[in-house]
């Protein structure tokens, strides 16, 4: 599945998962996921992804952003990702992802965001190791 299609399934994946919604029930924030040069803006209200907009959008604000090369995201979203590509902090440690901005919403809702960000794996094909 092409990456943009995968990302656009995020609202359905998250909003259809009661356990993830429960984790995020006190969270409302805006975040940005940048895949290569294309930003995607997520507006989260009480754990639900209320909107997902493909950018760039002029002057759109966000609390924090996770940026990475397209190939890094593709590997991260493999059903069984290879070592080093399996976690946002692993990718950040090895310089593949950049986590920027006010990361307080991320750190206070870490298990929620990990579940959100990893949700596309359910739809992914395996990337050969």
């Amino acid at each position: 599945m092409p990456l943009p299609d995968l990302i656009e399934r995020l609202p359905a994946l998250v909003n259809g998962n009661p356990a993830v919604l429960r984790r995020g029930r006190y969270l409302s924030t805006d975040m940005m996921i940048e895949v290569g040069t294309t930003p995607f803006y997520l507006s989260i209200v009480q754990g639900r992804i209320e909107s997902l907009s493909r950018g760039p959008l002029v002057m759109r604000s966000w609390s924090f952003a996770i940026r990475g090369r397209e190939d890094a995201w593709r590997q991260f979203w493999a059903r069984h990702p290879a070592p080093g590509f399996h976690d946002i902090f692993a990718l950040a440690k090895f310089g593949e992802f950049h986590i920027e901005g006010d990361i307080r919403p991320l750190m206070t809702n870490l298990l929620y965001f990990k579940a959100l960000l990893e949700a596309p794996r359910a739809l992914a094909d395996d990337v050969p190791r």
Binding site: H86, D87, F89, A90, M107, T108, L110, L111, K114
Partner: protein, 286 residues
């Protein structure tokens, strides 16, 4: 109806550590060669429950694990409420040797994971003759930090949630869901600031690289086992550490992360049993 009762027995022991009285919880199972197990940061002896119920191990080894002070069912020392917990190399070594001597364990095999894996290196440097063999899981002489540890202990962030969230990616994606979440549950239960205090030892105290050449594996065999999905102590970190220690054996474990014994006990067993067999063969040949 008979319920399943595990063979694990837990007790408390009173020790003086750093000049102060401590009440330390420990549990054990099995008979034979003492195998002392050291848990990871922010967790406790429950991480070894699968080893303690595996007869392939307990038929030959007396598996013993304590909860470090501040961890699990061991209480912090009196006055803790006005202190910041911070683990040091010297305090950790004192704990291990004091516990070992109090139980009368003669030259135990010692296996540690994460901070427990790291401490086997100073044990090998300073006290090799006191141990029959040392096994370090996720053991590296030096490693770089990958997050700001101040997030681990602040009143406006839930410590249990953030500690589990930080380490959740250190469990391999292939590990069984129930084992993954039990491992994280234990992290969720650590007291405020305990993970941060343990990490001080793991990162800041200290760079062991200059002293690795002091390790003599002919006195005490050293096994370094690291999971391929461990990005905190990477396989490369472990290989670099072993490269400076003649005779150290490196084992990189497939489809395992940072918590081998608790995140995927079945997968870990296939790597651990040959190591324990080799140690037992060596000891019985003497």
């Amino acid at each position: 109806m008979t319920a399943a009762i595990e063979p694990i027995i837990g007790r408390y022991i009173h020790l003086t550590l750093q000049g102060r009285p401590h009440r330390i919880y420990f549990e054990e199972a099995g008979v034979g060669i003492p195998l002392l197990c050291l848990h990871t940061a922010a967790s406790d002896s429950r991480q070894f429950r699968h080893m303690m119920t595996n007869t392939a191990i307990t038929d030959h080894f007396r598996v013993i694990a304590f909860d470090m002070p501040w961890h699990g069912k061991s209480t912090p020392p009196d006055g803790w409420q006005d202190e910041e917990y911070q683990l040091t190399t010297d305090a950790y070594i004192e704990l291990i040797r004091t516990f070992r001597d109090a139980l009368g364990l003669t030259k135990p095999v010692t296996l540690g994971c994460s901070i427990g894996g790291r401490i086997v290196l100073p044990l090998a440097m300073r006290h090799a003759h006191e141990f029959a063999a040392l096994i370090g899981l996720d053991s590296a002489a030096y490693q770089t930090g990958w997050y700001d540890s101040s997030w681990l202990h602040r009143p406006d962030v839930h410590g249990g949630e953030v500690c589990a969230g930080i380490v959740s990616g250190m469990v391999a994606p292939q590990s069984p869901s129930n084992c993954r979440w039990e491992t994280l549950w234990q992290y969720m239960q650590s007291g405020p600031g305990v993970f941060k205090g343990d990490i001080y030892f793991y990162r800041a105290d200290s760079d062991l690289r200059p002293d690795l050449s002091k390790i003599d594996t002919s006195v005490c065999p050293l096994y370094l086992m690291t999971g391929e999905y461990d990005f905190s102590c990477t396989p490369e970190n472990t290989r670099q550490t072993a490269a400076a220690i003649p005779g150290a054996e490196v084992i990189i474990m497939k489809e395992i992360g940072h918590f081998a014994m608790s995140e995927n006990p079945q997968q870990f067993r296939q790597y651990l049993l040959p190591v324990l067999d080799a140690i037992r063969t060596r000891l019985t040949a003497r």
